[in-house]
């Protein structure tokens, strides 16, 4: 899933080049490239699918030249994750009704890739032989109010390390999150889902018949010259709804696989700051010519050949990209989205 615009990550992330297409970590690979890299030993590149906005088609092709062009699906408009997942699921089902699928955002990061692969393999094994809807649950490390939480049942299932989901808790308040992180069976909802193609298509038929009907009606024309035109007409008629609301909170047979592979959704500058290793003064510098003096706990980002001098600053974000500059107190980062273009 590569259609988001990451507005809280301004000025790095813009509608023109959202953060999945940017080398946020300063490691030489963009977030979407790192996402595809993570599946290297799990999924051959010709079986990787990308659903993105029509505006980003060119960037996707450029950054992921190994992916067959026919596997890059274009949404004519943004309709959240449910229509996006429905589109690619109906496409895949027509080609291979036995497909087993992992769905992932393209702008998250994973620090421990071997552990990630172990978890994904176990999850795919589980959904290959069951009709389970499986979600990955991240062990929470702080009372984060920006995430959804998953409450699991404690009873073991037939597969070790996979549990039934009792309930989803959408973005709870700070007091609730403090309670949740004390408990053993609460996890962050990573937005990574594993299921076989029949399970997901059936789930749409049952819980989102309106969306199912739209894609069912286009099915005969998928893989023909008429597909894109039909999508352009009918995709916008889909309800704007996340897969969490559309399926997860309604379905019965939902499972969670708890995982701990150094995950972050990189939703904000603070989350990038928290995953980067820091110098003695707690600063993070991403760039080639950044000079930090008498400053603590600052995140400084400037990938261009810009000489940046930071003197006497504490707890702030300094981020520079093209014709945009942000200087923001770390605790005020929720205000950034008010200034995006």
């Amino acid at each position: 899933m590569a259609g988001g615009i990451g507005s809280r990550f301004w000025p790095l992330s813009t509608a023109e080049t959202p953060k999945q297409f940017i080398d946020v970590l300063g490691c030489g690979r963009t977030l979407i490239q790192l996402t595809v890299d993570r599946f290297e030993s799990i999924c051959p590149i010709e079986n990787v699918w990308v659903v993105t906005n029509a505006a980003y088609m060119g960037i996707v092709k450029e950054q992921l030249p190994g992916i067959p062009q026919s596997n890059i699906l274009c949404e004519p408009c943004r309709r959240n994750t449910a229509p996006c997942i429905a589109y690619v699921s109906w496409k895949i089902k027509k080609q291979n009704p036995k497909a087993n699928i992992a769905v992932t955002p393209s702008d998250h990061i994973v620090m421990d890739v071997p552990e990630f692969r172990k978890i994904i393999k176990k999850s795919l094994d589980f959904t290959a032989m069951s009709d389970a809807i499986l979600t990955l649950g991240m062990k929470p490390t702080r009372p984060e109010t920006g995430y959804g939480y998953i409450e699991s049942d404690l009873t073991p299932t037939i597969t070790k390390g996979i549990y039934r989901v009792d309930s989803f808790k959408e973005k709870p308040d700070i007091d609730l999150t403090k309670e949740y992180i004390k408990r053993d069976n609460f996890y962050w909802n990573s937005g990574i889902f594993i299921w076989n193609v029949n399970t997901v298509v059936n789930a749409f038929r049952i819980y989102q018949p309106e969306i199912a009907r739209i894609f069912e009606s286009m099915l005969p024309d998928f893989y023909t010259d008429r597909e894109q035109q039909l999508i352009n007409e009918k995709f916008p008629t889909c309800p704007n709804i996340s897969v969490d609301y559309a399926i997860m909170e309604n379905a019965e047979d939902i499972y969670v696989c708890p995982a701990d592979f150094g995950w972050s959704d990189l939703g904000t500058w603070g989350s990038l700051f928290s995953v980067k290793s820091k110098g003695v003064h707690g600063n993070v510098a991403i760039g080639n010519n950044i000079n930090i003096c008498q400053s603590n706990n600052c995140l400084v980002y400037s990938k261009e050949e810009k000489k940046v001098v930071v003197i006497g600053m504490n707890d702030c974000i300094i981020a520079e990209q093209d014709d945009k500059l942000l200087v923001c107190r770390m605790s005020d980062e929720q205000l950034i989205k008010n200034f995006t273009d």
Copy 2:
């Protein structure tokens, strides 16, 4: 005098384009243009002389097209103000031994130009009919340790508002400056001098015979094709010394004209901040697309078409120019010069 490099004003001021050639105030005129503008009704443009470094010859011609090219003098290297003033004084004396001269830095600002002109006219009248060395003294408004101070005699002279100088106090410590600003007869040394050409040349002969000898020896070749070559050879042999040390602190007949025309030497970002008018939160924004939110007492400078967003910052300088960015706590600005190129 336009040969300085203004290193405390980085990144706006660089060795390539020092601050006298920059529109620091954001008013559409550079500091050197504003300096020449101030003398408009006092001195015809063909009598304006600029002494600058060879590297800035092109910028001077471009920014001051009205000045005769032969009035732009090139120092082959930086030797502080005494050799600079000696050069132009010997030049002017050869052309017009009755010249009456005002010497001024090109990178200072004056808010009240009519008052400035009144003071300069009075000063020129005074030196036209006397051998006085006259300096302008600025009424101090704060205990500034970066300036030199002038202590005047309280006895009236024949010209109202002009006093004899008792002593010069070079950059005193903070306790002394606090004492000085309580007294009526202490002034900041503005670095603006008024004298007739014979007075200044004689002062060099008496107090700086070494410098006088160097320029005396070149005099026959001034205004010939050989002048620049001679200057290139001999100017570097001048001692590196300010006119304050070379003449002021030695000479006898020194006068001060106290003045109050909203002067600043713009030596630092803080001094620019102090002269600009501020919004309700005390911020100063110089630029076309600067957005400041929940911030107080910040100076934000970005003349380029850059979108700047500042959130939750207090008492800091944010300055951006070409491939350079500074973010600095206001009280740490003395550290800036350590990071200049």
